[in-house]
Symmetry: C2
Subunit: 493 residues, 2 copies
């Protein structure tokens, strides 16, 4: 088969619909032609520091028009982008940069503190602030994107500890956008609100839809429920991507007001939604599409359409058109109602983890991704997700991986072993809770241990509490049973 | 690259949105689940006559729900479909069946006359009427379609005489549908009116969109302007595919009435539209999207959006998102405004002609299809098509190929040589006109020669007149100059 290729997305969009609004940011609207012109100029500046086709480059960016421009500029040059989570610590970021084997980091002055620390950890890294790039430079802009080529790498953990770089090809992003449009449809007046991070697949997938659909995106540097509501009520926003906490805050903020008829939907991801919130939305006539997806599926892969939102409350829905889904237990397909591992396939699914043959082979068989998540299908084929990853903690929409925190705790000289699980939290949904077994005779206090963690972990990953105990629950193969921790937590409360 | 595959379109659609309306035909609406159930049963009946994966089967069908069912049933079985034009003569059809190397023809009783003749010409053909298939039969339904696999073969001529079978893969159909949705958008309430033949790419592409989008299609056995207008005005149709003659008749029929706001557009194909008709539409507020496409591009590949319909009147627009376009003359790209051959590429473009290596290599280079059509781009990249194929005659929306008629004329024993061109006709747009040079001393009359043609040519291909002359205009390489015939025609008038 000839390798499938498509004309460079933003360049093509600027040719097909130059005058349409592309991005609205801080009150200014950039047309597709303007966005392309900025990105072409930025490509020239980036090429002058040595970046070119086949290179990879890490980026540490805010949700900002300049960040959007940098992303497209790197695509123009044929540079693979390692999307860094700007909430991580310098140590975490350095680990990912090193693992991704990229020689470049492009960022901005607002992260100067972290950047200085990264520079110390990785003295050979070519670290550039976008504000300080040479003003002039010309570069050839890729005419076409090959769908098989890597567009982005995003780090995600899992239960095995070290984060893994998920490879997302242009094809993965393309098919994700196409699968979504065949589900949500596309209206001329569509305008998508993006207050989720563009370094996450939730935000990046909106930027891909932006150029593929020729659809306006309203970009917010940070989420504010009043501003988001105002954008829907007064500024023509028709679709907004949210996690539960955002939806909750927006619904609270609405009070007596309502959304205009032109508003199409909340696209709700980042973990299961509490039923009572969905019921409130139904009552108020707020359309919510629940979704299920992950970095490895380049955004949503299963979505519940609003026509089913009450009859199938709590369900994540059915797969997008190009994708498939099954539930497996011990190597066989489960009957409806029976719980098993969620297994997915489709052209939006990653081909694997960067430089991790083993992890890739473990997760993907014949194009089917074993998500590690548990769930079941009802008689009509609707998916119910029981645990987003068996042990994953979702805190304020961020994935928090217990193993990562456990690894840090375990590095403290006084700690024998550690187990982490999530506990309910009104503000963040969940927060981590640590169970720690100290070495015999060691004396370590909770606050001292948490202080230690701060050096290695972003604040949202810090355990709310440390519970010291004599041993951790383990199964026959000595594998930590995190579910048992929850039971112990109940007793501890 | 792993071969891309997608879940069986109709089966998947019946799973994802079983209760949505799929096809409305003669007042009855079939849901996607009903359509799938019918097609699954039909697959069983077709398998009982020996059809199975890897076979090919010709079909001779009307625009009818049963025809739609047969098409999906053959897809379920993994059978390649040779789509026959039901307006052709038995001889023409037999030629195509033989050329396609298919052993099977599935048709219906309403074509019994033609079928009897075909049976005589091809005594070994396994010819079956769908009404007389065994009632029972079970068959495995394909779970997935590989995008590289051939879905359909459609015959088209060209200037070289014999028709060629255009290979259309599942991928070609898929990308055509996706390219269109990224241009037209997709609304929940969309309903597409199909009165163009389903054996043409114009109609078949609507059936593909039907299952890929999960969008309702209103199918008409034949075009009637009053019925089409009624469907838009009273029956919720939002999009209709037309050729100029259909649009003209519908606009005439509207008189003082208007279309509802929910009506989205006429998709106008099948050749350039007269400017005065477009102006009338603009005046009446009728949205018309002009398009350019062909069997080889699996439907439209260039489309003019209505926002440009007046500023760019007469233009076919810009390529669909996944496709590309350039104008070439003597191997180099033309500047804006300069006329050259229209060359297109994209994942909707055929990989070639069935069993015609030479024709394929002549038409396609590095994935770029040389259309044989002449045109130019303006400064902004909008395409203007000058001749739909340099010599093609479009009669009532049907392609009529001069070379094919010339071939028939030339087989008459009294004819030395023949040239055919089109002449304007109020009813059909164009009709063929023949210029014939007789052998020395031969005496043959116009009506006698036309009578002879009737045996070999569908009625819409019959020349309106035969003009006897002493010689035909030819260029230095003895190639017939059909453009010169038009000049002679002027003198003859």
């Amino acid at each position: 088969m000839a390798e499938e290729k498509l004309p460079n997305w933003l360049k093509n969009r600027a040719h097909l619909s130059p005058d349409r609004p592309a991005i609205e940011f801080e009150g200014h609207t950039y047309s597709f032609l303007e966005l392309y012109t900025l990105s072409e100029k930025m490509a020239g500046r980036l090429s002058s520091i040595g970046l070119g086709a086949g290179d990879s480059c890490a980026v540490l960016l805010r949700n900002h028009i300049d960040g959007v421009v940098v992303i497209h500029a790197l695509f123009h040059l044929g540079v693979k982008i390692v999307m860094l989570n700007n909430k991580l610590t310098a140590k975490e970021l350095s680990w990912q940069i090193k693992d991704s084997k990229t020689a470049y980091l492009v960022s901005e002055g607002s992260f100067s503190g972290k950047l200085a620390d990264i520079g110390e950890i990785l003295p050979d890294l070519k670290l550039h602030l976008m504000e300080e790039l040479p003003e002039e430079g010309t570069a050839g802009v890729l005419q076409e994107f090959y769908l098989e080529d890597t567009a982005t790498i995003m780090y995600t953990s899992g239960t095995t500890g070290n984060p893994k770089g998920v490879i997302q090809t242009f094809g993965n992003h393309w098919w994700s956008a196409v699968g979504s449009v065949l589900n949500l449809g596309l209206h001329e007046e569509d305008s998508w609100y993006c207050a989720v991070p563009i370094f996450h697949i939730s935000g990046l997938s909106i930027l891909m839809k932006n150029v593929i659909y020729g659809m306006k995106v309203v970009l917010a540097e940070r989420f504010d429920e009043r501003e988001a509501n105002r954008s829907i009520q007064e500024n023509g926003v028709t679709i907004i991507s949210v996690v539960t906490a955002m939806l909750n805050r927006m619904v609270q903020d609405m009070k007596g007001t309502s959304y205009p008829k032109t508003f199409r939907c909340f696209l709700l991801g980042g973990g299961p939604a509490p039923v009572h919130l969905l019921e409130v939305c139904k009552e108020k006539g707020i359309p919510v599409y629940q979704t299920y997806g992950m970095t490895e599926t380049s955004s949503q892969i299963v979505t519940l359409a609003p026509e089913y939102s009450m009859a199938k409350i709590g369900s994540a829905g059915k797969p997008l058109f190009p994708s498939q889904l099954r539930i497996e237990k011990d190597g066989t397909m489960c009957e409806p109602g029976a719980v098993g591992e969620i297994v997915v396939s489709g052209p939006n699914v990653t081909k694997g983890y960067f430089n991790r043959m083993d992890a890739t082979q473990q997760a993907i068989t014949d194009g089917w991704l074993y998500t590690g998540d548990l769930g079941y299908l009802d008689e009509e084929g609707f998916l119910y997700v029981l645990d987003r990853r068996s042990d994953l903690i979702i805190s304020g929409g961020e994935n928090v991986y217990p193993a990562e925190i456990e690894n840090v705790l375990s590095t403290h000289p006084d700690v024998f072993e550690a187990g982490v699980t999530g506990t309910e939290d009104e503000k963040w949904g969940q927060v981590p809770l640590a169970f720690v077994v100290l070495h015999q005779g060691a004396e370590l206090g909770e606050s001292e241990l948490l202080e230690y963690c701060k050096e290695y972990l972003a604040s949202y990953k810090l355990p709310r509490n440390v519970i010291f105990c004599k041993e951790l629950p383990r199964n026959g193969a000595s594998k930590l049973l995190r579910r048992e921790l929850k039971k112990e937590m109940g007793e501890w409360r």
